[in-house]
C-alpha cells in the first residue's frame, strides 16, 4: 500500500469550451500539508471542488487509500473523510456555534423516530472544542456565528474538521481578510490538524502564509499542473512566484 491518502490521475474538466483542468495528476500523502498555488483561473478551485464532491470530473480517476472512488456529492466526500472549509461558505451565520459544528451529523437522544437533537451534548462538546482550537475568550457555544470575528469563524470550521477525525482537510483561502493574530491562529490550527493525523490542502494567495505551514507546494497554471514537488525549505518565495506566473526556467518534478 502506498502512503498516498488521495491520488488523482489524468483529471480533465471542461466548462463549455473552456478546459479548466487538463490531465492533472495530484496526490496528498498521509499527514502531509500540501500548498496548492496558482493565479486566478489556474484551476485550483475546480480541483478542490472535484475532491469535495461539488463538481464531477469529465474524465480521470480518483483513489483514496489506493481504492478507486466516485465522489458524487458532498455527502460522499464526508463519507470518505474529506472536509472542505470554503472561503466564505463554511458556516451558517444564523446558527449557533454548536449547531454549526454538528450540522449534518447532529447527535440525537430519545426515541429514534423523534430525531431529537442532543443539544446539551452538542453545547458541551462545542465548548471543549473551542478551547482545543485556542479560542481563549469565553464564548458560549450558543453564540451565533454572525457574532464571531473572521479568525474565530475559521477556528470553528477547523474545530469541526478536527472533531470528526477527518483524514483530509481542504482549506480554501483560510487566511483571507484575517488580521495578523487571527492568521497565526489559523496556521497553528493547521499544524495541530497535521499533528492529530490529518492531511491538509492549503490554498492561499498569500505565499508567505503558505511557506509557513506546508510540506510541499503544487502549482497549477492555465488548468495544467506545472510543479508538484516544491519543497518550501529549499525554495524561495520569489522562485515560486515565478513558477506561478510562468516566468521560471526551473524544472520541477511533475
Amino acid at each position: 500500500m502506498s502512503e498516498d491518502l488521495i491520488r488523482m490521475e489524468n483529471i480533465n474538466k471542461f466548462f463549455g469550451r473552456v478546459q479548466a483542468l487538463n490531465n492533472v495528476n495530484f496526490r496528498v500523502r498521509k499527514g502531509e500539508i500540501v500548498g496548492l498555488l496558482g493565479d486566478n483561473g489556474a484551476g485550483k478551485s475546480t480541483l478542490i471542488k472535484i475532491i469535495s464532491g461539488v463538481l464531477r470530473p469529465d474524465s480521470g480517476a480518483i483513489y483514496i487509500h489506493d481504492e478507486k472512488v466516485d465522489i458524487r456529492n458532498a455527502t460522499d466526500a464526508i463519507k470518505f473523510g474529506i472536509e472542505t472549509i470554503f472561503q466564505d461558505s463554511a458556516l451558517v451565520t444564523q446558527l449557533s456555534i454548536a449547531r454549526n459544528l454538528f450540522l449534518g451529523r447532529e447527535p440525537t437522544k430519545g426515541p429514534r423516530f423523534l430525531n431529537r437533537m442532543d443539544q446539551d451534548l452538542m453545547n458541551a462538546e462545542a465548548s471543549k472544542l473551542l478551547k482545543q482550537v485556542g479560542i481563549s475568550k469565553d464564548i458560549p457555544p450558543t453564540t451565533p456565528i454572525s457574532a464571531l470575528s473572521g479568525g474565530e469563524r475559521q477556528a470553528v470550521a477547523i474545530a469541526r474538521a478536527l472533531h470528526f477525525k477527518t483524514d483530509l482537510i481542504i482549506l480554501d483561502e483560510p487566511t483571507n481578510n484575517l488580521g495578523v493574530e487571527e492568521t497565526k491562529g489559523v496556521l497553528r490550527f493547521v499544524r495541530n490538524a497535521r499533528d492529530s493525523g490529518s492531511s491538509c490542502i492549503f490554498i492561499a494567495h498569500n505565499i508567505h502564509h503558505v511557506f509557513q505551514v506546508v510540506d510541499r507546494i503544487v502549482v497549477l497554471r492555465g488548468g495544467k499542473k506545472v510543479a508538484s514537488d516544491i519543497n518550501p525549505a529549499e525554495s524561495t518565495i520569489e522562485e515560486v512566484e515565478r513558477v506561478i506566473m510562468g516566468l521560471s526556467e526551473t524544472e520541477y518534478t511533475i
Binding site: 458532498a74 450540522l103 449534518g104 430525531n115 431529537r116 437533537m117 457574532a147 464571531l148
Partner: protein, 327 residues
C-alpha cells in the same frame, strides 16, 4: 439566570415584537368595543383563524428554508373542490375522496419543489405558475360553480371540522388540529435535527450542501408540507361553510406570507419561528375583526395591515442587526 438577563433575552427574541403588538391590539380593541372580548366574538375569531393558521404553519417551515409558495390559496380552493367532486359524482366515498385530493396536493407540492430545486427556477416564478394552473383547474372542473357539501353526515367531517361547546363557548375541531400541528412543527423546527437542516438550507445553502445536508430533498418535503397544509385547511373550510367554492382562498397567499413575516420569520430564510407565526396569525385576524367592531370602515383594513407589516419589518431588521452584532 439573572431576572434582567432573562428579560433582555426575551426582548431580543423575534417573537417579542409581535407579542407586544398583539397585546396592545387586544387592549385597544377591548377598550373601544365591549363586544370584542365577548365569548361569541372570540369564538367567531377562532373559527376561521386555524384555517389560515394551518397554511401559515406550513409556510413558516418553507420560508425558513429560504423558499415560499404563492400557490397555497389556489390549493386551498382546489383540494376541497376535488374531494367533493369525487364524492358528489359517486367516484369514491368522502374519506377516499379526501385521501385522493390530499394526494393531489402532495403532487402539487412535489412538482413545485422539484422545479425549484432541480431546475433552479426561483420559487416566486414556479409557484406563480402553479397558482394559475391549480386555480384554473378548480374553475375548469366546476365550471366556476361551488360544489355541494351537505349531502353527507360522515363522522369524518366532525373529526376535521366539527365543533363542541364548553359552556356557551363554541370550540371548533380545527382549533385543536391547529394546536396539534403547531406543536409538531414547533418541535421539528426547534428540537429535531431536521429543524437544523431547514434553518441551514435557508441560511446558507452551499454551506448546508457542503455539510452533507440534503437541501433539495428538505425543500421538496417542505413544499409538499405547505401544499398539504393548504389543502387540509381548504377541506376544513369547505366543511365549516358548507361550500367548496373554486374561488375560495384567492389572495390568501399574501395574507399568509404577511402573517409569517410579521411573526418574525425571515423572508430570505435562515430564521423561523412557529410561536411568532401564531402571534402573526392572531394579529391579522384580530385586526380584521377589531377594526370593524370599533367602527373603522372595513375598506381601510389594508392600510392597517400594510402599516403593521412596515413597522414589524423595521423592528425585525433592527433586531437582526443586534443579533448579528452578537448582542
Amino acid at each position: 439566570m439573572q431576572p434582567t438577563a432573562f428579560i433582555q433575552r426575551f426582548v431580543y427574541r423575534p417573537e417579542f415584537g409581535p407579542f407586544v403588538l398583539l397585546v396592545a391590539q387586544l387592549i385597544i380593541f377591548a377598550s373601544f368595543s365591549s363586544a370584542f372580548l365577548s365569548q361569541g366574538n372570540i369564538s367567531n375569531i377562532l373559527a376561521f383563524t386555524p384555517e389560515l393558521g394551518m397554511i401559515a404553519l406550513g409556510m413558516t417551515m418553507l420560508m425558513t428554508s429560504g423558499e415560499f409558495d404563492l400557490s397555497v390559496g389556489s390549493v386551498f380552493g382546489f383540494t376541497p373542490v376535488l374531494m367533493w367532486t369525487f364524492f358528489n359524482t359517486g367516484f369514491s366515498s368522502l374519506e377516499v375522496g379526501f385521501l385522493l385530493a390530499m394526494a393531489v396536493a402532495v403532487l402539487i407540492g412535489f412538482t413545485s419543489g422539484w422545479m425549484v430545486t432541480q431546475l433552479k427556477i426561483p420559487s416566486f416564478l414556479v409557484t406563480l405558475g402553479m397558482l394559475l394552473v391549480v386555480r384554473g383547474s378548480a374553475l375548469y372542473i366546476t365550471a366556476g360553480f361551488p360544489q355541494r357539501t351537505w349531502t353527507t353526515d360522515s363522522p369524518f367531517m366532525d373529526i376535521i371540522a366539527g365543533s363542541f361547546h364548553i359552556g356557551s363557548f363554541r370550540v371548533y375541531a380545527s382549533l385543536i388540529w391547529f394546536i396539534v400541528f403547531a406543536l409538531i412543527l414547533g418541535y421539528v423546527l426547534t428540537q429535531s435535527k431536521y429543524g437544523n437542516w431547514i434553518l441551514a438550507s435557508g441560511g446558507n445553502t452551499s454551506s448546508a450542501i457542503a455539510r452533507g445536508v440534503r437541501v433539495a430533498r428538505t425543500k421538496i418535503m417542505l413544499f409538499i408540507l405547505t401544499a398539504v397544509m393548504a389543502g387540509y385547511a381548504g377541506v376544513t373550510s369547505s366543511i365549516r361553510v358548507a361550500a367548496a367554492n373554486p374561488n375560495s382562498g384567492t389572495t390568501y397567499e399574501l395574507e399568509v406570507i404577511a402573517m409569517v413575516v410579521i411573526g418574525g420569520t425571515a423572508l430570505t430564510g435562515g430564521r423561523g419561528t412557529i410561536i411568532g407565526t401564531i402571534l402573526g396569525v392572531l394579529i391579522l385576524r384580530t385586526m380584521r375583526n377589531g377594526i370593524v367592531l370599533i367602527g373603522v370602515p372595513g375598506l381601510a383594513y389594508n392600510i392597517f395591515i400594510g402599516a403593521i407589516i412596515l413597522i414589524m419589518m423595521a423592528l425585525h431588521s433592527w433586531l437582526e442587526r443586534r443579533h448579528r452584532a452578537g448582542v
